[in-house]
Amino acid sequence: MTNKPLLTVNGLVKHFDISGGFLDQLRFSEGKFSRKRTVVHAVNGVSFEVRQGETLSVVGESGCGKSTLARTIIGLYPPTSGTILYKGARVDDLSPKAMLPYRAKMQMVFQDPYASLNPRMRVNQILDEPLRLHFPNLNAIQRAERIAAVMDQVGVRPGWATHYPHEFSGGQRQRISIARALMADPEFVVADEPISALDVSIQAQILNLLMDAQDERGLTYLFITHDLSVVEHISARVAVMYLGALCELAPVRELFEAPRHPYTRLLLSAIPKLGGERRRSARIQGETPTPINLPPGCVFHVRCPFATDLCRVEAPTLQDYGGALAACHGLEENRI
């Protein structure tokens, strides 16, 4: 593993306008009509880099923007603002044609193996598609050989290539999704909750497969998950997100042994540990904010036990604490 950045994300913002048509936007108050837009602030100014050969995990609860971040990086959503650099070259503003070579290098594995495989295509058709798109020079026999080799690598018998997705179990289907991502011979794989939909005994199989593929092909992973025990096992570094903002980004040992940001601490204290002592978790007061009505200042101040007046008005920026980055006024003022 080197420290060279493979992917750099700078001030990435992604907002979704969900206000609907003109009539949906009309509001009537105090005798006047006005137009109101409703915007989901999914990702708000996130910057980080993914280093060559590492696994960077992004964790957070539902609605924190981690999946939107993944999909924006891979180019499924255009960013509202900010830039994405792949090996130093901007990839967020490319035409579909100029983007094509990068699409081969950057692949994605989705959460739900029941929804992400086309039910009308046979496995060999599913796996053939990326080859025909990215390697037009290969003939049918060469493509079939590659498909068989990758199927073998992910542990699906090549003899089943003519079967349909519904004939496979969830774990097998997720192996096929991983095979599809590997077909284009990528360098960078974004995995969005790849094991959350699977049974416990199958989760370990898929994690091992992902780690084996990384060792054999020198892959770099951006791993999106809410499961912290998995994160602790597979990642080199971990980024914690809350309401579209990055709270903390630290090497995995540091994060689990000495979490800095109050949200990271809350998150870690909430994981149920196998056979561990029962801990009382902090009870959350009031309603948690949503990305539609973002609180001013630090997005976490509503739930934060250390919040001061400054936290309520001014958003903190990421500061370096000996290799671990955290965005918190309390840490800056040395009172946490």
């Binding site: 049974d199 091992n208 912290l228 096992h233």
Partner: protein, 328 residues
């Protein structure tokens, strides 16, 4: 102390055109007041069907083929639908997985909460509303009196699940069956809900059956555990004894596959293969095709639960516990 609930040799069968599918096979367990039992297993293990069959929520083509369920001294399998209806939501309450699906989106929370009380008790609407507010306080809902007029969509997932728990508590049941109550929730909210369930069983001396696939959750909340595989209980005992010293190869595999059991090594231990479907249930011990310790006999005969030597735990395995074969 007399048991609150005793399930004996329960068999649940789904009759299909091509034959019977046995979803629950010879399942027996018991629970005392204030005790918390975890039913653990992966999808298809039969844990939810077991939970549902206690209050007879099994609908055709499924039926309880044999076995007995005794609750507070009454046999439940022979109750008339009317008697069962009176018991359900009154003495035994159920909490389901998805708080988005369980509440009716077009009724206010007040209407949904008082409905249960008005159905089971002879009280006025005003009294029912007072009881509802009282119960909301018990589950730590902020500003409870304001909530009765609200609709489910106005609340977050964690708040909705607390409302559902409140509905389950309204009639002071002596048993709560919670089917994956925290699976749809975020970890910080999950921790809150688990704390709440734990506290309620201690303070109100309610029995709790927690159905889940998450061993860590079970180990935090329950005192006893029953691990299910292929419709049978394969191992049961005090939770910590089973988790610290599992004897069934499936329980060992399940615990061994967790990242925290990897003990510094990069590759995780994995169980080969996948849970069999009811259509293709293997002969003998259902786990034998995936079992690293399987012997010839495992493919032919099904082991009966027997003592393991570990205090109070039972397991069903020919290899690790030398159990007898179950008579068919």
């Amino acid at each position: 102390m007399a048991a609150l609930l005793t399930v004996n040799n329960l068999n649940v069968v789904f009759s299909m055109r091509f034959g019977d599918l046995r979803a629950v096979n010879d399942v027996s367990f018991s629970l005392e007041s204030g005790q918390r039992l975890g039913l653990v297993g992966e999808s298809g293990a039969g844990k939810s069907v077991t939970g549902f069959s206690i209050i007879n929520l099994i609908s055709r083509p499924g039926r309880i083929a044999s076995g007995s369920i005794t609750f507070e001294g009454r046999e439940l399998t022979t109750l008339s639908p009317e008697e069962m209806r009176k018991l359900r939501g009154d003495r035994i309450s159920m909490i389901f997985q998805d708080p988005m699906m369980t509440l009716n989106p077009v009724l206010t929370l007040g209407a949904q909460m008082t409905e249960t009380l008005l159905a089971h008790e002879n009280i006025t609407r005003r009294q029912a509303e007072e009881r509802a507010v009282e119960t909301l306080k018990k589950v730590y809902i902020p500003s409870p009196d304001r909530r009765l007029g609200q609709y489910p969509h106005e609340l977050s997932g964690g708040m909705r699940q607390r409302i559902i728990i409140a509905i389950a508590l309204l009639t002071n049941p002596s048993l709560i069956i919670a089917d994956e109550p925290t699976t749809a929730l975020d970890v910080t909210i999950q921790a809150e809900i688990l704390d709440l369930l734990y506290e309620l069983t201690v303070n109100e001396r309610m029995g709790l059956i927690l159905i889940t696939h998450d061993l860590a959750v079970v180990s935090q909340v329950t005192e006893r555990i029953a691990v299910m595989y292929g419709g049978r209980i394969v191992e049961t005992g005090p939770t910590m004894a089973v988790i610290d010293n599992p004897s069934h190869p499936y329980t060992r595999g399940l615990i061994g596959a967790l990242p925290e059991s990897a003990g510094g090594q990069r590759r995780l231990n994995q169980i080969q293969g996948a849970m069999p479907s009811l259509y293709h249930m293997p002969s003998g011990c259902a786990f034998h095709p995936r079992c690293p310790l399987a012997m010839d006999v495992c493919a032919k005969e099904t082991p009966k639960l027997c003592e393991t030597g570990e205090r109070g735990t039972l397991t069903a395995c020919f290899k690790t516990a030398a159990c007898e074969a179950a008579s068919l």
